[in-house]
């Protein structure tokens, strides 16, 4: 069974893991502050569907994931985040004239990340910040799961079994009416079970506009934001037993309309990532869409 779609699953989950703080992008990080000693929790439900198979195998993959993120402000400039996904992955395909379906549900790999605000400009009604970040994905999820057909392929395993590193930088600019963010991130994956997932590089952009209230009153009213995000994600080829998998990796451009309702203590949010361009290698499975919805709490 072809493990090539791990290149799709990983960036989808990866994209949400760092953005625990504030009214900000849905699919990637932000440089906006987490106060000293402040705890923030974020819960996201992600549904991803991939059915556009260029091969005759008619592969179809669905992933439903619940992603819990906890953020803590160590100092005014340094915040740490931990993220644990719980995913239900299902793959069906036609092999040799027979339909086959395999699935697995379970807790995935724990991700730990630190973010440091390296540059900051605060003015009346605006802020601009730049924050580099560094994180590691630890192999806490099971990577040896099997079913009646034998060991499950890497994309269906709850965990990867490898230590993966991610670094990057995000810049955020925000006023009371508008917000904008840009991020570059790179993730290098380790090897486990003679398999190494392709490295991921991504460039992300986000613009948010306050839709309501139209006129700002006193105090701290709830804000309704509408937003549009773009994610350019390049995934390298997977390596299996020391050789490149020609049917893996590629470049995808997503556009994501988002809506967020932000109050003092909580945020409700939703968005759908639509792949407007997919240039994938060989018969790599194409993604249909990724739906994300969830909430954040200021504890």
């Amino acid at each position: 069974m072809n493990p090539s779609f791990r290149g799709i699953v990983a960036p989808a989950i990866l994209g949400v893991w760092t953005s625990a703080a504030i009214a900000a992008p849905l699919t990637f990080n932000t440089a906006l502050p987490v106060s000293t000693d402040e705890w923030i929790v974020r819960e996201q439900f992600i549904y991803m569907k991939s059915t556009d198979d260029p091969s005759p195998m008619k592969r179809r993959m669905e992933v439903s994931a619940l992603v819990t993120t906890l953020g803590y402000g160590v100092t005014r400039d340094f915040a740490v985040f931990g993220m644990l996904p719980y995913a239900d992955k299902r793959l069906s395909m036609n092999a040799g004239g027979r339909d086959a379906s395999r699935s697995r549900a379970g807790p995935g790999d724990l991700i730990l990340m630190g973010r440091y605000t390296a540059h900051e400009e605060n003015g009346r009604r605006y802020t601009f910040r730049i924050a580099p970040f560094l994180g590691v994905k630890t192999p806490t999820g099971s990577d040896g799961a099997s079913d009646s057909l034998g060991r499950l392929p890497p994309p269906l395993q709850p965990g990867s079994g490898s230590w993966d590193w991610q670094g990057g930088a995000v810049a955020s600019w925000q006023t009371l009416e508008w917000g904008g963010d840009i991020q570059f991130a790179h993730r290098a994956n380790g090897e486990a079970n003679r398999f190494r997932a392709g490295a991921t590089s991504r460039l992300d952009l986000s613009v948010q506009r306050r839709l309501w209230p139209r006129t700002l009153g006193e105090g701290v009213p709830g804000f309704l934001y509408g937003g549009l995000e773009a994610n350019l994600v390049h995934v390298g080829k997977n390596r299996m037993r020391g050789e490149d998998d020609p049917n893996s990796g590629g470049t995808t451009l997503y556009l994501t309309p988002t809506v967020q309702y932000v109050t003092r203590k909580w945020v409700l949010e939703a968005g759908i990532q639509i792949p407007v361009s997919q240039r994938l290698n060989g018969t790599a499975l194409e993604n249909d869409y990724i739906l994300t919805t969830g909430f954040r709490l200021n504890l």
Partner: protein, 104 residues
Amino acid sequence: MKTFRPGLAAMLLALAVPLLAFGAERQVVDIAVRGMTCPFCAYGLEKNLGKAGEVEQASASLKSQNVHIVLKPGTQPNIVRYKQLINDAGFTPGEAHVSTEEIE
């Protein structure tokens, strides 16, 4: 012989407390805050200011770009500390203005 009536005593006490407080004052502090742009981060600022023991309530205003700090009666403001707490919340404190208000 006179008997002690607890119910009557409690009623008199309840009436007397507001009279005792009448005319009392407490200090309030308004501090400009730069970089405060969304409700979620404003709450972090208010929570941080609550760490100062003498602060009864801290209310941010996004429109006015300041925070209004109400102190407990009989306490004195510590502006340096409040500015540090605003800084710890990730914002830049500006000018501070201290005034008094009557307790209602």
